[in-house]
């Protein structure tokens, strides 16, 4: 045992640090080989599995970050707006008191997006009648009041601060619509409770600023009186708003809101029903049908349409290979080719621009890089390897014959850069969109490397090119294909969506040149996962 150890130690010490003279060409070869391996473009080399995974993670992380950061911004705007109310409240111009008023459904928290209603509301003039339960008087000559606020008096059970701003942003359209619908639906509630609203004080101010003080006594809840549409509903219900005023209001609505609305007939019917319940004169009820009322918005009819997006995605893919014998006489070779190669992995990465028309029709174009990896295995049985044994003087002292079964495995890579052109239809609500799309995909450039089994059962390197004389050469352009998919988008915030899109891609042409004994084609299915930026 110790002899063995001594022997091993001797060999180890003798050879472990042994150094041989290195021919200078090896370093040159290393430098040349490394330079050769450097990709022609940075991005091509960048697209290895690790970097692609990192990129995907980065996309998701940045999307999440934007989503999180965008919310505090909105909050900040709200806070900023609230603080402005304090200043405006000092300019009191109009006070409305109401007693025993019970209303439901009006939101008390306001934001700047509701301003246009209030501003427009001040342009309406309501006639006072002796039996009025609520009257509103506006002497403001200017149709647009920049800022207004209403502050509940200390006697109110709830205080509501209402403010407005003449600026209206399109992103707030949905919230406005909801307020309007809520107001209309609560007409009955207001009437059932026979609100006793009295006008205590009316003040007008022709300046650009106006403030409303709303005193509500014995109210079970405070009512948001400042949106134009709420007032419209209340005024019409109580029969105190003139036809002229309503028409003016409708005009204002049409100019300030381009959204799609519920049919006017629906609104008029509701108003007439309500008017009947409170005993309005029949003539007045009939006159309601002549009104050019603003339409109620539908819930999300226009959410998906009339938008532009930029989308970036990455996709794990699965390649379905088709091998066919072009000469019809090579079935044995076809079988060998099928057995020697198998799909290994695939992925795609890309970006595209999408335009969704108002009708929901979507058009998209982009750039897509995809890679399919294939495993190539060749088995060599009973390979005889003869080894010659030498003595220390270099004389041959014998030979050893070794039989081996050798499995050689390598990977083939098929790369392509394509331009997909997609026609689709998009629908959805404010949170989720679905887009069904399909269209042609045009190959810009393809390149391949690896090995396939030759007809002599030997590994043969494949190449990319247009040579007609090379049997194992693949096309640099595989031509036209078709792709289609169904995207599901989830809205993270006003600008960012995350999406998943199961898709397929089918190429009409073969990847191999026409003179290749075997024609090869890949159909790909996968799942695009990415982010969509609302432009």
């Amino acid at each position: 045992m110790s002899d063995m150890k001594n022997f091993d130690d001797f060999i180890h010490s003798g050879l472990n640090k042994h150094s041989s003279e290195v021919p200078s060409h090896i370093w040159d070869n290393i430098v040349a080989e490394r330079n050769k391996r450097k990709p022609t473009g940075f991005w091509l080399g960048f697209l290895n599995y690790r970097n692609v995974a990192l990129l995907a993670g980065l996309l998701l992380a940045s999307g999440t970050g934007i989503a999180i950061l965008s919310n505090p911004t909105n909050m900040a705007n709200t806070n900023k707006f609230s603080s402005s109310l304090t200043t405006l409240n000092s300019n009191t111009s109009k006070t409305i008191s109401s007693n025993n008023t019970t209303t439901k459904g009006f939101n008390k928290t306001r934001s700047s997006d509701q301003v246009d209603y209030t501003a427009a509301a001040s342009s309406y003039r309501s006639a006072s009648e002796s039996n009025n339960k609520e009257s509103l008087q506006h002497s403001t000559s200017d149709n647009v009041i920049k800022n207004s606020s209403a502050t509940a008096s200390p006697s109110n059970t709830m205080n509501s601060d209402l403010s407005s701003n003449s600026n209206t942003t399109t992103t707030n359209t949905h919230r406005q619509k909801r307020y309007f619908i809520a107001g209309i639906e609560n007409i009955g509630v207001i009437q059932a409770n026979t609100a006793d609203v009295q006008s205590d004080k009316l003040a007008t101010d022709n300046s650009s600023n106006s403030n409303d003080d709303v005193n509500t006594n014995n109210s079970s809840s405070a009512t948001d009186h400042t949106t134009r549409k709420h007032r419209t509903a209340r005024g019409l219900t109580d029969g105190y708003m003139s036809e002229t005023d309503m028409g003016a209001m409708a005009d204002n609505d049409q100019t300030t809101n381009n959204s799609q609305f519920l049919p006017q007939s629906f609104l008029v019917t509701r108003l007439q029903d309500s008017a009947q319940k409170i005993g309005m004169p029949e003539m007045a009820i009939n006159n309601l049908a002549k009104l050019n009322l603003p339409e109620c918005p539908t819930v999300e009819k226009n959410t998906a349409g009339n938008k532009q997006y930029v989308e970036a995605y990455i996709s794990p893919d699965y390649g379905i290979r088709t091998l066919s014998d072009s000469s019809k006489n090579n079935s044995a070779y076809l079988q060998q080719r099928k057995q020697s190669t198998s799909f290994s992995s695939a992925f795609s990465i890309g970006a595209r621009y999408t335009k969704v028309l108002k009708s929901g029709i979507s058009l998209a174009a982009g750039l897509n890089y995809s890679q399919i990896n294939e495993k190539f295995t060749i088995v060599e049985n009973n390979i005889s390897v003869t080894e010659i044994r030498y003595d220390n003087r270099g004389n041959i002292v014998g030979t050893d014959t070794i039989k081996e079964t050798q499995y050689k495995t390598s990977h083939n890579h098929y790369h392509s850069v394509d331009v997909p052109l997609l026609l689709g239809y998009e629908m959805g609500n404010d949170k989720i969109h679905i887009n069904i799309n399909a269209g042609p995909v045009m190959n810009i450039y393809s390149w391949q490397h690896g090995q396939v089994l030759s007809q002599d059962s030997m590994p043969e390197s494949i190449s990319s090119g247009k040579s007609a004389s090379l049997a194992y050469q693949y096309k640099t352009n595989v031509g036209l294909g078709v792709t289609g998919g169904v995207s599901v988008f989830y809205k993270l915030n006003d600008q960012l969506h995350v999406f998943a899109e199961p898709y397929f891609r089918y190429n009409f042409g073969s990847m191999t040149n026409g003179n290749s004994p075997i024609q090869q084609k890949y159909t790909t299915v996968g799942m695009h996962i990415g982010l969509r930026l609302d432009l």
Partner: protein
């Protein structure tokens, strides 16, 4: 420049530092390659491939343990991969190993051997024996590790090592006789 500085410079793809690393370690690594390769040309190919990997994977070096050991592992793995050893089914034919020659080998018998002699003797071993002998005796891998690397049973590794050692000792004895 310290070794760590050299490595960091190599990670930054500094050509001069890469050349410095190559000059510093290539001689010893070529000796490693020569012990695994079937010819000196193969050994040079292995060395070339191994150093390409070394430079490509340099960023993965964690500055833990010996840098030379890390390079050596890459070289050995490249050599093993070169011959697809993990996928070989081996059958040694035409050579029978007799039971161990009971005549003990005097330490003085091999103490005179030079490194080149040893290298020649080891290279004269059948490749299956040679690889296991190299991995165990010179690289210091355990039988379990060798078994995992080569896809064989640990027992096979042990038996091949014994056979390789016996064969090597026998050749040394023959050298002794020739020398006498």
């Amino acid at each position: 420049m310290t070794e760590n500085q050299l490595i960091k410079a190599c990670i930054r793809e500094d050509a001069a530092s890469q050349k410095e690393v190559f000059d510093r370690y290539s001689g010893r690594m070529l000796s490693v390659c020569l012990r695994y390769a079937r010819s000196s040309a193969d050994a040079e190919d292995i060395l070339q491939d191994a150093f390409i990997k070394v430079f490509d994977k340099m960023h993965q070096f964690k500055f833990e343990g010996s840098f030379e050991g890390w390079i050596r592992r890459i070289v050995v793995n490249t050599a093993l991969k070169k011959y697809s050893l993990r996928r070989y089914e081996k059958e040694v034919v035409g050579y029978e190993i007799k039971d161990k020659d009971e005549s003990s080998i005097e330490a003085s018998a091999y103490s005179d051997l030079t490194a080149k002699d040893l290298l020649d003797l080891i290279n004269a071993l059948p490749s299956g024996y040679k690889i296991i002998f190299n991995l165990y005796v010179i690289e210091g891998y355990q039988h379990d590790e060798i078994a995992e690397m080569l896809g064989i049973q640990p027992g096979t590794s042990r038996s091949q090592l014994v056979k390789a050692r016996n064969m090597l000792q026998k050749q040394i004895l023959e050298l002794q006789k020739i020398a006498v």
